[in-house]
């Protein structure tokens, strides 16, 4: 489609994905709202998706494996989001909080 790949290296996508992934990761560590945490995890997953797609392109030769994997990740992410939000809503119903730092009654 485009000739941009003439000068594009796979490493660029790796870096991009890693940066995205780590941004998500930073969010997970930094934020306390469970919903935002969930969103950050989605961001991390998307970073991985991007990487898979890039690798799929990089492999060339009609390799659809990477793209298939992205497909399945999306499937799982959807299911995960559903369950995660259900849990979140349940917790919120019981405690009126979505702040994870208050959930520390289970400890040594």
């Amino acid at each position: 489609m485009l000739n941009i790949f003439q000068s594009l290296e796979i490493s660029h996508y790796i870096y991009l994905s890693c940066v995205l992934f780590c941004i998500g990761l930073f969010g997970v560590l930094f934020r306390r709202n469970a919903i935002i945490l969930l969103m950050c995890i989605e961001l991390m997953l998307n970073a991985v998706n991007l990487l898979f797609a890039a690798f799929s392109e990089y492999m060339g030769d009609k390799d659809a494996n990477g793209q298939m994997f992205v497909f399945f990740i999306m499937v799982v992410a959807a299911a995960e989001a559903a369950v995660g939000l259900a849990i979140l809503v349940m917790v919120y119903r019981n405690t009126r909080k979505t702040d994870v730092s208050f959930l520390d009654s289970l400890k040594d």
């Binding site: 991390m44 994997f69 849990i87």
Partner: protein, 460 residues
Amino acid sequence: MIGILIVFIGAVLVLFLGLNKPEGGMKTLSSLVLFLAGVLSLLESLSILNFEMLSNWAPKNMIDFSKGDLMFVSLLAFVTAAIIAIFPTVEEKGSDRLGLMMLSLTGAFMMIGADHLVMLFLGIEVLSIPLYVLAGSDKHNLRSNEAAIKYFLMGAFSTAIFLLGCAFIYGGSGSLSLSEISLRMSIVGHLSEFPALIKVGVILMSTGLLFKVSAFPFHFWAPDVYEGSPNKVTTFMAVIVKIAGFVAFANYLQAFEALATWYSKWLIILAVCTIIFGNIAAISQKTVKRTLAYSSIAHAGYLLLFLITPMKANMWILFAYSVAYALSTVVLFYFNDKYSTKKEYGFGMFSGLLKNNQSATILMVISLFSIAGIPVTVGFTAKYYLFTSAFEVSPLAVGIALLGSAISIMYYFKAFKPMFESVETNTNETHASKIHFVVYLMVAASVIFGMFPYLFERCF
């Protein structure tokens, strides 16, 4: 495949038939279905039965159950059947919990049989997602809620890391199929020639799996989630997730056999750390459940030792250890569930058990011996096999593991003090109640397997 099929169908059946009935009504059905799945898998693994049609339908490149894998499938099916059978059900209507547990089990089967990273990933998720829910299934208990959200967030997080690892491996090896990867790796041959992508991928994927099996330092979720979840779910988590995780881990590492010298280096360190950490942290625990949680971390450490041995020929050792671990852990969680009350969930719950219920005492004693690895229980046999095979690779690690099992006595035997105490009070109703016959069977099995250990080797 037959296992997945039957358990899935069973789960759907249970879900629909039990829609408006109390959960107890579906208990027998679900454990029978699981038992059937276990028996069929066992027969298949012993080459007595053959389900060619099924295996022909499914392309081999995705999921492939070897004979050994089928043994694990049947073990997990049996154990889940036992868990469902011996633990009490909730009073609510609807059999969602049973159904979810069975669905989760199919995920475990997928992990065991996975020969493709997609399959492995999917298996992990099918195993985990119902578990996130189950952990929080005691909806009105804040502790259960907390367990669910902790488990979910950390689980999802580790999944992301796992997936990043998958991506790197895909990028490094150009394939997602484990056997394909293995083939390509063996052609490349020399260690230094592997792209760094693969090593990073292996580490990241391992992190995801180490999280699942709750190995140090990715164990943080385990004590909290174990404590907060309902007892039945905790048991399921402690046994099924761990065993399935290790089988998957072993299968997946086998694909990277060419890297064995490299990965066994850090696996040894991890194993040693996990053993030391699990055992030491367990000492100061006050509640039985948390103690068992840390004990399961320690067991993860022992099992990590397995991963440094030549795994292909030794899968039966993993099996033996899984049997030992499953039998004793289930029984101990059962007793914890049976005797703990709202007020007393520490070791005091066993106080005066000897006086009130001698058979329960004996069962507990044998299970504790088994989990502590004292002969002639299966716990010893399994540990013996495991340590002997690991000894050749790293005597030092085995030495520490031995020390670890000595430390473990400190907390396992804590239960004996209240048990053998002479108490003034009259018969304790909870203590005096009958014990499920399956528990007897399990304890008997742990002694029999302990006395005739060659059964394991023969079956593989």
